[in-house]
Every structure is written in structure tokens, then in C-alpha cells.
Symmetry: C2
Subunit: 195 residues, 2 copies
DNA sequence: ACGCTAACTGAACGCACGTTCATTATCAAA
DNA sequence: TTTGATAATGAACGTGCGTTCAGTTAGCGT
């Protein structure tokens, strides 16, 4: 085995994904060329194919990694709390985790249609799994009498849309801090599902 | 003046916009070619340039028409009601109007970045004007003691994100009717802004 | 010092893109 | 029936696309 220390491939792969994420998020998957990505990394276009079989796989990897990370982080965070406590944990987790990865979140909502049907199904399945986590909290709270929600699936979609929407307007260093935003959103969600 | 009755241009123009809307919404602006649009209408690509100066203007017209229509429809709907009544009117209006135009709404949220800075500013301004309508309702309700919202701008964004999110999952003929969805969302919004 | 291989280049492939334009078909008005 | 504008064609323009691949560079292990 040659080239262990200082191997470029362990550096170049992540850099390609990072630059691709930035460019896809900024201009859209279809509007970004392999040559643009390569130039951002400092390579010729052909070199990208040492790291990805094609352009779509590059997008898929970004989306898959994001969803896996999201779900794994939530599995670590969730506890055996009461329904209200669990909902608060979810709300704060979702705002914080997504707030730290605006580009990945943006991609995950905008570029799904550029995936093949098979890859689309994978990402869609992961998203559904994540949504189910919230729905289970709502179901448990409804059963325990802690929440009053006529339809848990609808409430799930409403809450997630509301929380994810933070990314469309929140700017670091703006009028409100992340913590304040978390507090206010949690207050709105809490009231929205209460009796 | 020749060609009055049966003039094609009065038919072809709208048909181009309709097919462009469908294709842009389905595949994304950058992924749709002028040749695809032309083929959907039954023309050669060159003929499109009798109706639009370029591809971006086609997108801009669609977005501008949508926003103008949205704001005009709201101006007709709004009345001199109480804050709670006005908020209910807004919630039901937003869900219904956007629900009837899923493609235009989708475009308005996804393809803004394909506009030139000048055109982007126009659409952004219209969107802000629409958001201000909701914020003014919340401000009035807060002042009158009908609502308890720590930050009206934040509540505005949260409510709009939640309502617009309906389009991502609602399907005609599904488990819930439009009217039921309206009712449940209004209930959640009402509780979320209450004291 | 040398061989080996991972890492990358640069040119090329065929194709599709947005846009332009000379030409042609169509049809109302005269 | 002629006229003249409107509506549309179809070929062409230069450009950039995703992807492939033979060849070149660089650096570790021996």
C-alpha cells in the first residue's frame, strides 16, 4: 500500500461534497455543473469521477448523510419523558439541528425531484421515519390526555412545516437569538396542541 | 389590422404559460428546456420568442401573476372584522387560495433564485407585502388584547410556513377534505396565538 | 534509488442548450 | 384576388454539459 500519510483522497472526497453542497444549495442541482464543483475544489472535472459514479450520486449522498445524521442525532436526544417534555425536546431539537445545517435542509426539501425513483424512495422513507417520531409523541400525548389534536398526522405536518420554516427567515446576528426563537416556537406549539 | 378572429396569439400565449408552469413545477426551471415547453404546446422552440423575450421572463411572469393574483384576491376578501375574525379569514383564505394553485405556489417558493436580482426584488417585495397583511392582523389583535404573541413578525412567519405546508401533503380525495383541513388548521392557529 | 500505485490532468465524445433569423404559411381586410 | 400583417418554421450559431480515458505526476514502501 502506497500513499498512506498525506493521502489526498481522504481530504478531497469531503471537500468535493462540501463544495457541492454549497453550490447545489445556492444555485440548484440542475444549474450547477461538474466543472463548477471541480473548480471550487481546485480540480479538473474528470477527477470528480474518482469519488462519485455520477452527478446524481453526489446529490444522493448529501441528502442521505443529512437524513441519517438527523435521525441518529434524534435517537440520541430522545428520552423517556412525558409527552409534553418529549414534544418540547423535539421542537428545540428540530430548530437547533436544522438551524446548524441550513444548506443540507434546503437541499433536502428542494432537490428531491432530481433523484431517481429508487433514490427518491430512500430519502422519502427516511423523512417519513423522522416524521413518525413526532407523530408518536403526539399520539402518546393525545392518549394520555395531555394534548388535544383532532388528527395527529395533520398536526405532525403542521408542526414540522412551521419549525422548518425558521430556516427561511432566521439570520445569525439578527434581531432574535436562536434561544429566543426556540422559546417562542415552543410556546406556540405547546398552545396549538393543548386542550 | 389583420387576423382578428381566430387569432392564434391570444390562445398560444396563455397555453405557453400554462405548459411552462406545469413543467417548471414538475422538473424545476433549470431542468426544463425551451424545446420541451414548445413541444408541450405543439410548437418549435423559436416560436416561443414571439411571446417572451427570454426564458427567465417566462418564469418571472408566472411568479408575478401569481403574487398579484394572491394579493388582489386577499384585498377583496379582507373585511373590517375583529382581529380573531380577520385571522380566521386569513387562515382559511390562504389555505384555500394556495390549495387551488399548487404549481404556482411551489414555483414561488422554489424558483426565486433563478430570477435576476431586479426581478427577485419585485417578487420578494410582493411577498413581503402579503406577509405584512397577516402581521397587521396580529399586531391589531395583540394591541386589542385578543392575541398573546411575543413577536408578531416571528408569529407571521410561523403561521405562513405552517399554512403553506399544507400543499406539501394534501391530496384531493384523500383522508381529509379541504374544509376539514381548514377547520383543524384554524383551530391550531387560534390556540397558538391565544393567551 | 527505484518501482508502484493512487491522484489527477487535459483532451475528447456526442449531445442539448438558449437564442436568432431568413423563410414560409395563414388568413382578415381591401 | 391581391395585399400585408401575423404566426410559425427549421436550420443554424456558439457554448457548455456529463462523462470517459489515455497519459502524467507525485510520493510511500522497499
Amino acid at each position: 500500500m502506497a500513499r498512506k500519510t498525506g493521502s489526498h483522497s481522504e481530504i478531497t472526497g469531503p471537500r468535493i461534497r462540501a463544495e457541492a453542497m454549497k453550490l447545489f444549495a445556492r444555485h440548484g442541482f440542475a444549474a450547477v455543473s461538474m466543472r463548477q464543483i471541480a473548480a471550487a475544489v481546485g480540480l479538473q472535472a474528470g477527477a470528480l469521477y474518482l469519488y462519485t459514479p455520477d452527478k446524481e450520486a453526489l446529490l444522493f449522498d448529501l441528502l442521505k448523510d443529512h437524513m441519517d445524521g438527523l435521525i441518529a442525532a434524534w435517537q440520541e436526544k430522545r428520552g423517556g419523558e412525558s409527552p409534553v417534555g418529549a414534544l418540547e425536546t423535539f421542537v428545540r431539537f428540530h430548530i437547533r439541528y436544522n438551524g446548524e445545517r441550513p444548506e443540507a435542509v434546503f437541499l433536502s426539501y428542494m432537490e428531491l425531484r432530481n433523484l431517481s425513483p429508487e433514490n427518491f424512495a430512500v430519502i422519502e422513507g427516511l423523512r417519513r421515519a423522522y416524521e413518525t417520531e413526532l407523530e408518536n409523541i403526539l399520539k402518546a400525548g393525545q392518549a394520555a390526555g395531555a394534548f388535544l389534536v383532532p388528527d395527529t398526522k395533520l398536526a405532525t405536518m403542521a408542526i414540522i412545516a412551521m419549525l422548518t420554516g425558521v430556516n427561511t427567515w432566521f439570520r445569525e446576528g439578527g434581531r432574535l437569538s436562536r434561544a429566543t426563537v426556540e422559546d417562542i416556537y415552543w410556546d406556540m406549539v405547546r398552545k396549538a396542541v393543548s386542550g
